[in-house]
Subunit: 222 residues, 2 copies
DNA sequence: ACCTGAACACCGTTCAAGT
DNA sequence: ACCTGAACACCGTTCAAGT
């Protein structure tokens, strides 16, 4: 019997940048940013770590591309909304939910505020401000404030929502945070004492939207 | 002649946690988060890398402690302000400036939203809301929105303000960001086109405060 | 009690060599 | 053109051994 295999070692299907990026997203979603290494990625794609560099420049660019991929899908899936305020809320919530589902997206955007996805968000928010009735000379500040708020809040929320050491649930965790904040200066944290129960029980999405509406109603006064 | 040295190798002055933290802050300020390694830190303190672990638990705790040190000084230096709105603006600006001067503080706080410094900021903001006239049931949302906005905006600003590759200045950099955002979807970025000049020329602190005031005026409507 | 520095188990990235 | 995998130059962290 002749030896059957001729080129067993080589990949059958060619690697592409897209395949690399999508495999990276799976790893990031499953294990967070620390889980993404060129070794695990190469193993999952059944290739050598060097092969990956033929398709992506480096780890940071890979993270940037993965972030762009997730948010491009998120934003293009968004149904058209006619009224300006609901349209802004829809964009905000979509970004919030995407970052909640992919916390590493939030961390990466925080590190790269010039990311193309931020341009897209900024445009989608900004274009609604004139129809909303925001004064022309306040539009830029308002769009900036909303964009910053959305990204900052969503990122922080996603990290808070991540499973915490010891496997404690969200409520227990938030309660312990409030308790620690009070103990850091016992007797002089009247506000945190007063809202500790809300801190424990609040719904993140609802609170997020409340902040959006705060900014919007402030913007319409000028 | 007898051999003079008896214990040349040993440190003269004992290491303390505070000395380690302060040396870390110097390294972080000079070279950013990537510059802080246990090897450079040990070299600067004229000790072995293992010695550092006697005083600090690990790299992340060191970053947490360095962040706490910077912000504790920032917040305790803050002069007392009587009027609620100016008091909130003073806290916001102090945090903004501290993160501008120490960008790694912003990145670390984004990664650790339960940090004690965030509790302090949350309290200082929250305690002003009742005197400001915010409705009782809106105080929690308002304090959360302000805190998120402050941290998110300050972090992003600090990263944008960091010296960029190629040594380009801030204006040139911001101009190229606007240009890229427009080119990502040419012909369909009317808002960014309209505000591109403002994006290039805006003052960060002024814009940051504008966002604070947007939230505050929105909060006083309820 | 505190410090030293080599050793361990990782990384991202490069590159000569293969197909 | 694309892939392989060893090699390089780093990391954080541990730990036996010193004082």
């Amino acid at each position: 019997m002749p030896k059957t295999p001729r080129q067993t070692t080589r990949r059958a299907d060619a690697l592409t940048k897209m395949k690399v990026v999508h495999a990276a997203i799976e790893i990031l979603d499953a294990g967070g940013e620390a889980a993404l290494t060129f070794r695990t990625l190469a193993t999952r794609l059944a290739t050598g770590s060097g092969a990956l560099y033929w398709h992506v420049a480096d780890r940071n660019t890979l993270l940037t591309d993965a972030t762009a991929d997730v948010l491009a899908r998120t934003l293009s899936d968004l149904p058209k909304v006619d009224e300006p305020a609901p349209a802004i809320r829809a964009v905000a919530l979509a970004v919030f939910d995407a970052i909640d589902a992919h916390p590493w997206v939030g961390s990466h955007l925080s590190q790269e505020p010039w990311h193309r996805a931020i341009g897209e968000i900024f445009e989608r928010i900004g274009e609604q401000l004139e129809p909303l009735g925001v004064a022309a000379d306040a539009e830029f500040d308002c769009a900036s404030a909303l964009t910053s708020y959305i990204l900052g809040t969503a990122s922080q929320n996603a990290i808070n929502a991540t499973r915490h050491p010891g496997g404690v649930d969200r409520e227990t965790f938030l309660e312990s945070v409030a308790e620690r904040w009070i103990q850091d200066n016992p007797g002089r944290r009247p506000f945190i004492r007063r809202v500790a129960a809300q801190l424990r029980d609040h719904e993140d999405r609802r609170q997020f939207l409340a902040g959006i509406d705060l900014i919007l109603s402030g913007a319409c006064l000028r």
